[in-house]
């Protein structure tokens, strides 16, 4: 990522109310060209409203927005040529065939992509004559991505892309999004799936109750938690706890039956493994639990994403 370039999207102090309810309180972030930027948060956190303001679909009540250096409200016409949008749960005409939909939507743009090539890359070519209502959930989502990309956009905004997909279709969709980024398209991904955010996003903004709680890389967010690591194993020979508790990295040692659970910080695994090797003890069923983005989210917001 070229950190010297100006951001393609700049949101500062965005504020939006609906009839007295604050949907977005105060949101600021910047998206760099060529990255996959995630907006992560529970349902109702203000994610969709935020991207709708970026898309120019909604008018903010406060704050400033710049998308490709333009104002999403004033320069709406120009931006629609350059920003592709995949809306949460938007359908199409029931009986339109896939190829007809691609042809129709490509006619809206001045310099459309080659839609035949696009559906080929998305693995939809053999479905080109299938009506929309006969496509599977995964195929509909892929068509939705294709429609968002048919205008050859510089930015693609994808809202809750994998909701309702089975795990395999979800993984396939993730591969697709990486391909989109690799073509040089900046991707803004709205999601409430931890796994998706952790796997895909170069950076992400965690939003809760209309405010940005943190912005960082997934690894950076996890590191902020400074959660303790936990190692579990079954020693092959009797093990004196004091061998482990004496180590500076170890905080606590507990036993669950034959299983030893060691919690600690720093290079815990290396320290424990060295001690065991020195005493010729083999660690059977060894497991290392590390902090995940889930833990980071709980630490940042004080709750899990699902409630």
């Amino acid at each position: 990522m070229d950190t010297m370039s100006t951001p393609v999207i700049e949101v500062s102090h965005l504020h939006k109310r609906y009839r007295g309810t604050v949907a977005v309180d105060d949101v600021s972030f910047a998206v760099e060209r060529g990255e996959i930027f995630g907006i992560l948060g529970p349902n109702g956190a203000g994610k969709t409203t935020t991207v709708e303001c970026i898309e120019g679909v909604r008018k903010p009540d406060g704050g400033t927005l710049r998308v490709l250096g333009l104002d999403p409200q004033r320069d709406r016409g120009q931006l629609r040529q350059r920003v592709g949008v995949q809306l949460q749960q938007a359908q199409l005409y029931d009986k339109i065939r896939l190829a007809e939909a691609m042809e129709l939507f490509s006619s809206f743009y001045r310099e459309p992509a080659d839609w035949r090539q696009l559906i080929d890359e998305l693995g939809l070519t053999d479905k080109r004559n299938t009506p929309f209502n006969k496509l599977s959930g995964g195929q509909k989502q892929r068509l939705s991505i294709a429609l968002a990309l048919v205008g050859n956009p510089e930015i693609a905004i994808l809202d809750e892309l994998t909701t309702g997909l089975d795990p395999q279709a979800r993984r396939d969709t993730w591969d697709l999004i990486e391909q989109i980024r690799d073509r040089g398209v900046t991707v803004v991904l709205v999601t409430h799936f931890m796994e998706e955010a952790e796997r895909l996003c170069d950076r992400l903004a965690v939003i809760d109750s209309g405010r940005v709680v943190a912005i960082d890389t997934p690894a950076g967010l996890i590191a902020q938690v400074k959660a303790e690591q936990r190692i579990r194993f079954r020693p092959s020979a009797p093990l004196d706890d004091t061998l482990l508790t004496g180590l500076p990295e170890v905080v606590d040692v507990t036993r669950h039956g034959s299983q030893v659970v060691v919690t600690g910080t720093g290079n815990l695994l290396h320290a424990v493994a060295s001690v065991l090797a020195r005493h010729q003890i083999v660690a059977a069923d060894l497991r290392v639990d590390q902090a995940s983005l889930d833990d980071a989210f709980v630490a940042l917001t004080g709750r899990t994403i699902d409630n």
Partner: protein, 246 residues
């Protein structure tokens, strides 16, 4: 190809994929003329109807039927369905304004109405010797105003209906009184005086009267044209104000 032309051709293509809708809007009015025309007594001049034949009246009544089917049973369900499915919202994120989809739907409805009218007139003329409209310009004006008035009402229903199901239901409920006053069950000429007075102020009562006047060779009555114009303005204006894109 131009995006607007593409939207209209898509709309027409999708319409042609709905066999039930095609049957009732394109074929059914002409079939009704054929059925009524095959009843011998309907081909005899009737003193009760002022010397015209029943079949002469049902050509214009069938034209209003085609318009009512399109505008009340088609438009509200289709447009509120587009809103419910998020098609209008999706279009709003592209360089095309979602209003273009409404325009495409209306243009398609007008084209279908035109085909249906031509079929009805052709069957009436060829099979039953019903004269073609004698005051052609007046007939065209009445046809356009009647279609516009009904489509404005259809748009209004689409604007206020919360979903496709409700849009369809409201359209169907409106269809019966509208067609009653257009004379589908009792032609205007056979209506009691009071009913006829009321009918003249209903959209297709006025529409049928204007079409009938022009068919007989006179310019449509000013009251009929004014009534139709008022429906266009009131319901078209209300629809434009109240229409929700999502």
């Amino acid at each position: 190809m131009n995006a607007n032309v593409k939207l209209i051709t898509t709309e027409t293509r999708l319409f042609l994929r709905e066999p039930v809708a095609v049957f009732f809007t394109v074929a059914f009015p002409a079939i009704l003329v054929a059925i009524l025309g095959s009843v011998p007594s309907f081909r005899e001049p009737s003193a009760d109807l002022g010397g015209v034949r029943v079949i002469d009246l049902y050509v214009t009544i069938s034209i209003t039927l085609a318009i009512a089917m399109l505008a009340l049973q088609g438009t509200p369900a289709v447009l509120s369905g587009y809103r419910e499915k998020g098609i209008l919202r999706r279009l709003g994120t592209t360089p095309t304004h979602p209003a273009m989809l409404l325009v495409a739907q209306l243009v398609n409805s007008l084209l279908v109405a035109l085909v249906s009218v031509v079929l009805v007139l052709a069957i009436g003329r060829i099979a039953f010797d019903v004269p073609l409209p004698r005051q052609f310009a007046g007939f065209l004006l009445a046809l356009i105003l009647a279609a516009a008035a009904l489509l404005a009402i259809g748009l209004f229903v689409a604007a206020v209906a919360p979903n496709a199901k409700a849009g369809n239901a409201i359209g169907v409920i409106l269809f019966f009184p509208v067609m009653f006053f257009a004379g589908l069950w009792v032609p205007r000429e056979a209506m009691p005086e009071l009913l006829r007075r009321i009918a003249d102020f209903t959209p297709l009562g006025a529409g049928e009267r204007a079409l009938h006047d022009a068919t007989m060779g006179s310019w449509p009555h000013a009251v009929s044209l004014a009534v139709l114009g008022a429906y266009v303005l009131v319901f078209g204006g209300a629809a434009a104000r109240l229409f929700r894109w999502e």
